[in-house]
């Protein structure tokens, strides 16, 4: 029997901020193709879990592996390229939406993916965003439009592991369903999402509930 390597693994991760324990020896595994939702009251470190995986928060103890490789100063820049991240209330900066979509393709790591921009019209349609939105200043977009734009940007980068932080919190029911339908159709996608949405929980293969004592319950 072969043992499947987890897409993402966190083992005994301890994070403290200014003397306060945010994550207390948290462990989890996300397997390829799996959809896992992290839930729990606010302030329990759900977003910190995603930020740890991205290397934005360095754990005081414990280890994080992505596709079997330990996250460290030497590997973080390569491993980040395997992850697609949609932050909670994304900040898109300045310029038009079209410029914002194009920006990541000017990074050396994504130069070979430029052709993916051809999928932009189709993705805009899937997420019910009008095409003329591309000419709009990103600062004028609504919260829901920004969230869907961030999701589209994640899909354009052709990554297989998605870290989604409350990706549908600003969307109405129709748009939430659109997003979930799309996510469920992405082949081989491993998804780790922070969400409280019931509909999101319904499509999850597993739910991990973060508890204050650090005793996390998997369902």
């Amino acid at each position: 029997m072969t043992v499947m390597t987890p897409a993402i693994e966190m083992k005994d991760v301890l994070v403290r901020f200014q003397g306060k324990t945010v994550l207390n020896r948290f462990s989890m595994q996300l397997f390829p193709g799996e959809k896992v939702v992290l839930t729990g009251d606010s302030g329990l470190g759900k977003s910190t879990v995603l930020r740890c995986i991205l290397g934005f928060v360095v754990p005081d103890e414990g280890r994080i592996c992505i596709q079997g490789q330990e996250l460290s100063t030497g590997t973080v820049w390569t491993l980040r390229r395997l992850l697609a991240y949609v932050p909670q209330e994304p900040e898109l900066g300045n310029g038009t939406l079209e410029e914002w979509f194009k920006a990541p393709f000017s990074y050396r790591a994504n130069l070979g993916l430029r052709k993916n921009l051809d999928r932009l019209p189709e993705l805009l349609q899937s997420f019910a965003l009008p095409r003329d939105l591309l000419r709009k200043e990103v600062s004028t977009l609504s919260g829901g439009e920004k969230q869907r734009a961030a999701l589209i940007a994640a899909f354009l980068l052709d990554r297989k592991m998605f870290l989604l932080d409350e990706p549908t919190s600003a969307l109405d029911r129709n748009n939430t369903n659109n997003v979930l339908e799309f996510l469920s159709k992405v082949p081989d996608a491993s998804i780790l999402a922070v969400s409280h949405e019931r509909t999101f929980l319904e499509i999850a293969d597993r739910i991990i509930e973060l508890c204050p004592a650090g005793e996390d319950h998997a369902r």
Binding site: T73, L83, Y85, L92, P104, Y107
Partner: protein
């Protein structure tokens, strides 16, 4: 034709004019009277000290002494930037010194060398005042640029981290912030160049005219000094930010809180 000397007693009497701004501050209860008083005392003490020192420097006109004077000015400017931007001394003192040195030296030596064709590059009469003007502007530009750069990254942290998550290297993720910071640092010089001569007669030109030179000579000096200042500020601000980045981010690409004083 030489500038009329100012009698020391008459200059002391001229301080009486300060009654007007101090009176205004008292009347409006502007809470910077103590600070202003200290600034006036410091200005007087610093300029008198520099005046006495420069008399010696000009009399000796020794290239080594002039170099030492420039080095001291660079070190003082370096410390002012570190204090003004709340940076940690040990991490930033060397990279910022290099940025200030490059921003001052390139336009200064192009001024004294090819432009004025002076036989000695380190003549006190040219190197010290022109170097001082360029350095003063480099100092201001660096403070504006560095503060703007790090404050923008802190304020727009989400957008910065999102760029890293999308595969940007540190240089790529900081590029938009570098562009904005350089623009903020260069804009005051651009605005000065656009209005110079119309709104105010600049200090350098006034000095040259008071020194007895022809106004056209003064204008040529002013044009050259504006080019020197603009070039110097552009060189120093980009170098200062780029060289500080190495000391202010972690190996994971996030801003290192230990790089800044609380």
């Amino acid at each position: 034709m030489h500038a009329e000397d100012i009698d020391m007693l008459a200059l002391a009497g001229y301080y009486a004019l300060l009654v007007i701004p101090f009176g205004m501050m008292l009347w409006l209860r502007i809470p910077i009277i103590g600070k202003t008083l200290v600034a006036v005392i410091r200005m007087t003490a610093q300029l008198l000290f520099v005046g006495f020192y420069l008399q010696v420097v000009f009399r000796l006109d020794n290239p080594w002494l002039n170099t030492l004077w420039l080095a001291v000015m660079l070190a003082v400017a370096d410390l002012s930037i570190i204090r003004g931007c709340s940076l940690k001394l040990r991490r930033f003192i060397f990279p910022l010194f290099i940025a200030l040195f490059a921003g001052t030296a390139v336009p200064l030596f192009a001024f004294v060398g090819p432009l004025l064709s002076r036989p000695g590059l380190m003549d006190a009469q040219y190197v010290i005042p022109i170097g001082g003007m360029i350095l003063g502007n480099c100092l201001r530009a660096d403070i504006i640029g560095i503060r703007h750069f790090y404050e923008a990254i802190k304020n727009r942290e989400k957008s910065f981290l999102h760029a890293l998550a999308q595969g940007a290297r540190l240089g790529e993720a900081t590029r938009p912030f570098l562009r904005d910071a350089c623009q903020a640092a260069l804009l005051p010089t651009v605005a000065t160049m656009a209005t110079i001569g119309l709104v105010a007669l600049p200090g350098m030109m006034t000095g040259v005219i008071l020194g007895g030179a022809d106004p056209m000579t003064a204008i040529k000096y002013q044009i050259a000094i504006m080019i020197a200042i603009f070039t110097g500020t552009a060189i120093t601000v980009i170098l200062a930010i780029l060289m500080s980045v190495k000391s202010s981010f972690t190996w994971y690409g996030t801003l290192d809180p230990h790089a800044f004083r609380q």
